[in-house]
Symmetry: C2
Subunit: 140 residues, 2 copies
């Protein structure tokens, strides 16, 4: 991940390394605030501003992917570049599962034909409860 930064002319600083590591380690959807908290634990000297600026760069390079929808907008997950994917988001624990299987090109073409829109992209997210949270709910 850091290599990509370098390749695009960004410097790989201690702070950016810390932010990237925190993102990789965690599997959750991360808000800037959550990410800041995680980074701040090990590196109390890193400020929120750096989190925002780093996230901006990572999003620009598609190393991270911005989520919308649900109760909290502006969340980020690690994004596989060159691979469009959708998300399955747990309302209980915020676990995010990617799925790439579904192909929307047929639907997109038919929509474009009928609406005369030029379609550039889409956003698809499913909401629900992951297995663990389902158990918690039905359990004690």
């Amino acid at each position: 991940m850091g290599a990509v930064l370098r390749r695009h002319g960004y410097k790989l600083t201690r702070q950016r390394r810390a932010v990237i590591e925190a993102i990789i380690v965690s599997q959750d959807r991360l808000t800037p605030a959550i990410l800041y908290a995680k980074v701040h634990q090990d590196h109390p000297d890193i400020g929120v501003v750096t989190i925002y600026r780093t996230l901006e760069i990572l999003a620009e390079l598609a190393l991270v992917c911005e989520l919308h929808g649900g109760t909290a907008c502006h969340r980020y997950v690690i994004g596989q570049p060159e691979q469009h994917h959708h998300h399955l988001i747990c309302s209980g624990c915020s676990l995010v599962t990617d799925f790439t299987r579904h192909d929307f090109s047929a639907l997109e073409r038919s929509l474009a034909r009928q609406s005369r829109f030029r379609i550039d992209g889409h956003l698809l997210e499913f909401f629900g409860l992951c297995p663990a949270c389902q158990e918690k709910q039905s359990g004690p």
Copy 2:
């Protein structure tokens, strides 16, 4: 729309009437700010706070539907209750077209089976350019 409010025990005040009318008249996606501007034109005495509080109620009663994604989160459109629909959003003029044709139940079932999630809902939005904005773009 007002009747539904009443039915749920909310009072139908002059302010709420104004907000509802503004929503119905406009076909765009509305941010609280835009809606406030529209309402404020005819009713300079109505404050932003009322916009927020009214939107909250309307969203709760599913009379209005919250959109996410794109550059501006937190936008609202009139929502047909009892009818799940998706949106086709123009990046140029913010025109929103609904489409309800596509059926996701099959995809949802297969996703649920494979991920073991209990799927409660989804959000699907397409982005692109409407016919008018395509012409503007290719024109002078």
